[in-house]
Symmetry: C2
Subunit: 149 residues, 2 copies
C-alpha cells in the first residue's frame, strides 16, 4: 500500500509526494475498520493544510458512480487529469474529459463514472463555501528578494 | 487565445473546461493593461468558486522562478501534474516531479522553475488559511437516492 510521503518541510511549508499518477491505484483510504477505498489518497493529513482538503482518485475502466453525495459546509471542485467519463449533479448528466473542472455547492447531489477506455484520474478540492476574500491574483505579494538559482 | 469555457451549469454547479493540458500555453492571464502572463489560466471567474481559487500554469523548459512571492491571507497548495523542477520556500530548495504537492502558509516566500526536458505543468490552489472545518471525508453525506446511469 502506497502512502503520501513527506519530501521536505520547513517553518512555512510541507512538501510531499503521492507518486506517479499511474501508481494512484496503490493508495487506499480507510473509511472505517474493514471499509477501504482503493485508488484514493487524501493530502491533508500529510500536508497539514488548514484551508483546503485535496484528494486524488483513480477509477478503473467501467467503474465509479455507485452513489450520490452532498456536503455539509464544503464547496468542491473536481478536476479531470486523465480519461473520459460522465458526471451527474442533481438531475443533470454531462460528459467530462481531460481539462474539465466542476465546481459544486455543498447541496449539489454528485457522482461520476468512468465511461472511457483508460483509468479516469480526478483531483477533488474541498474548501468551506464563502471563505475566499478575492478571486484571481490579488492576494499575492511580489517580493524584491532574489531567488536562490 | 484560449479561454476557460463553460460546458454545463445548474442551480448548484458550474462545469467548464480549460482544454487539454498540452494546450495550456494558449491561455493568457492579463495582470494589468499590457502586462500578460502566457501559459496560465485561473478558474474562479468562470466557475464562480467561493472557497478556493485554482490556477493552472505551464512553464516551458528552462523557464520559471524569476521572483519570490508571499500571500496576504491565502494558503497555497501546488500540485505537479507533469515535468521536473525545483521549488524554493524561504531558504530551502528541493526537487519536484509528477505527484509532488507543496502546501505553503501565506508567509512562505515561494518560487519554482522548470529544470526538466518537458513543459512543467502545475495546479495551484488558494484558500484562506484556517477556514476548513475538517480534513478528510467527514464533511460528505452519502445519499440513498440512485444515480441516473
Amino acid at each position: 500500500m502506497k502512502k503520501v510521503e513527506k519530501i521536505s518541510n520547513g517553518k512555512n511549508y510541507i512538501a510531499a509526494t503521492v507518486g506517479k499518477w499511474s501508481e494512484l491505484s496503490q493508495h487506499v483510504v480507510t473509511l472505517a475498520p474493514g471499509i477501504e477505498i482503493p485508488g484514493k489518497a487524501f493530502l491533508g493529513e500529510t500536508t497539514q493544510s488548514t484551508g483546503t482538503e485535496i484528494s486524488f482518485t483513480i477509477t478503473p475502466v467501467g467503474k465509479g458512480g455507485d452513489f450520490l453525495h452532498t456536503h455539509k459546509t464544503n464547496e468542491e471542485t473536481y478536476i479531470v487529469l486523465q480519461g473520459n467519463g460522465q458526471f451527474q449533479v442533481d438531475a443533470k448528466v454531462f460528459d467530462i474529459a481531460e481539462g474539465s473542472v466542476i465546481r459544486i455547492t455543498p447541496d449539489g447531489k454528485r457522482a461520476y463514472r468512468n465511461t472511457g477506455n483508460e483509468p479516469l484520474i480526478i483531483i477533488c478540492i474541498q474548501s468551506q463555501s464563502h471563505t475566499l476574500n478575492d478571486l484571481g491574483i490579488t492576494d499575492g505579494v511580489i517580493l524584491e528578494e532574489t531567488v536562490q538559482w
